[in-house]
């Protein structure tokens, strides 16, 4: 092609990931113990997989309605009602999506006009900012610090709100820190959202991996439901990342808007995944409890071990990540990760991947079996001794 600027400006303007080379290095190396994986180490529980196989055998290979199988929406309604007392109408207020990733993109595109601002608390999952930018919006990053447990405060949020602010993207328990908000903290945040009339997009994909506390769904707060797009999915809870299945619940008007985009861009989520998800909601509870227990133990082990090694960290309240500081070792987080990988073959992710201000931190995922975690701790210790 002769044409210059083949790639849209919006896309070429997206900042490239600063740690792509590091990722490539990890993928090239053999025998690495990876603490850098953002998905469960369990395979999908057998009863769910078996349902997927059964669907294929029976010839369920078609589209479903745009919104997703009615049965699945009905089960989700029941689940959310039991779990959080939230009542969403399966006809108008629930949309089945291809992972939470799609749901997030739809939510952002459904609400944003060019130039409007979305507040994105940091450190955060890597896609939030780019998704807002691609939708023509402006992500306004709000850094949280170790001092506040990597959580933003209501005051901080209030100071960031302007006339241009349209909404906020929340994620708790958080990737990369494992931090989660208490009901009280959420109520304070909700008061600010009400005051500035913000749309709240809340990504609660790790809600079922909450340790030592009851998870509070944002729309369950007083007067929050009508302004909230609640996002969740099956990937983390049921170890179903590859099935690509998520969902969004919210006020009819917003779900209708999201469905409009979804029907033209995605049409529907895969039917086998949807049917498998029905099985997950019906019979998956026991497997979820078992996996959660295992993550919980690993969290305690990693928290204790890292602190013993002098990598100070905040105890994660959920998910399967821990975000220790490596400041005192005098290396940048990328150098730290690079050297640990080359010298001891342990992979983790430099904190800068999750926000510019997180130089000096690394993300460790404990979605890896206990034997490997134990070995990883031994290797990290050996590495720290050489510094």
């Amino acid at each position: 092609m002769k044409r210059k600027n083949v790639v849209a400006k919006k896309v070429s303007d997206l900042a490239p990931s600063g740690i792509r080379a590091f990722f490539d290095l990890v993928l090239e190396m053999k025998e690495v113990i990876s603490l850098g994986v953002g998905e469960p180490d369990f395979v999908t529980p057998w009863n769910i997989r078996e349902t997927g196989i059964f669907c294929l055998e029976q010839g369920y290979t078609s589209y479903t309605s745009n919104k997703g199988l009615y049965k699945l929406r009905l089960y989700l309604r029941r689940f959310l009602k039991q779990r959080y007392g939230l009542d969403y109408c399966p006809d108008e207020q629930i949309l089945i999506t291809v992972g939470v990733s799609e749901a997030l993109d739809l939510a952002v595109r459904a609400i944003l006009n060019p130039g409007e601002h979305i507040i994105v608390p940091e450190p955060c999952y890597v896609s939030y900012g780019p998704v807002v930018e691609l939708a023509g919006g402006v992500p306004v990053y709000l850094s949280s610090t170790e001092k506040t447990g990597f959580k933003i405060t209501a005051n901080q949020l209030e100071r960031a709100c302007t006339k241009k602010t349209k909404g906020i993207i929340l994620n708790y328990p958080s990737n990369p820190t494992g931090a989660s908000y208490t009901r009280k903290e959420l109520e304070a945040i909700n008061r600010v959202c009400r005051k500035y009339d913000l749309v709240v997009i809340t990504d609660e994909v790790y809600a079922d991996l909450a340790y030592d506390h009851e998870h509070t769904a944002f729309p369950a707060l007083k007067e929050a439901k009508s302004r909230t797009i609640y996002l969740n999915g099956f990937s983390k809870t049921y170890a179903m990342t590859g099935w690509r299945l998520g969902y969004a619940c919210g006020p009819s008007e917003l779900i209708a808007a999201m469905t409009k985009i979804h029907q033209y861009t995605m049409l529907c989520a895969p039917i086998m995944s949807q049917m498998a998800a029905c099985e997950a909601l019906q019979t998956g509870k026991r497997s979820v409890e078992e996996m959660k227990k295992e993550y919980h133990r690993r969290r305690d082990f990693m928290f204790e071990s890292l602190n013993d090694l002098g990598m100070s960290c905040i105890k994660p309240a959920g998910a399967f990540y821990i975000f220790p500081s490596v400041k005192k070792f005098g290396l940048s987080s990328l150098e730290f990760a690079n050297r640990l990988l080359r010298e001891e073959k342990v992979a983790l992710i430099p904190g800068v991947a999750f926000g510019k201000s997180y130089e000096g931190y690394v993300r460790i995922s404990y979605a890896t079996n206990y034997m490997q975690l134990k070995e990883a701790v031994v290797r990290i210790k050996r590495f720290l001794n050489t510094l």
Partner: protein
Amino acid sequence: MDEILEILEKDARVSAEEIAKFTKIDTKTVKRKIKKYEKDGVIVGYKTVLNKELVREQHQEVRALIEVTVMPQKNLGFDHIAERIYQFPEVSSCSLVSGTYDLLLVVEGKDMHTISNFIAEKLSPMENVKGTVTHFLLKKYKEDGVILRHREDNKRIAISY
């Protein structure tokens, strides 16, 4: 069930120090509790689960499930006859079950001949044994919750957000 037991049931090699980390109980208490479980017979032993198919040459071993119908004894029920049966070293496990027979045994021997000898000479002639049905095990797929097939490597990509 006590969490200490849950952890050990899954992996007997986890040390008291590690259990302490998992459970937030201090190491000393964990050690004391384990000692007590051992003394009380709650923890009966520690062993390794082997896939014997893979170590066949050295340990050619045959296993059979034997359904045994017995005559319960006055005042003693099944316990006495069960005891007489489970004392044999050939019997690796013995349970009283509901249904069409009474005791279910797992019997191990170095070949089929040994097992049939055991049945013919020891088990069947016993006074209260009314009958036996023997099933030789051909292949074992899962034992005590552990799938014996050799696990494939993890299929996840090594690093992701």
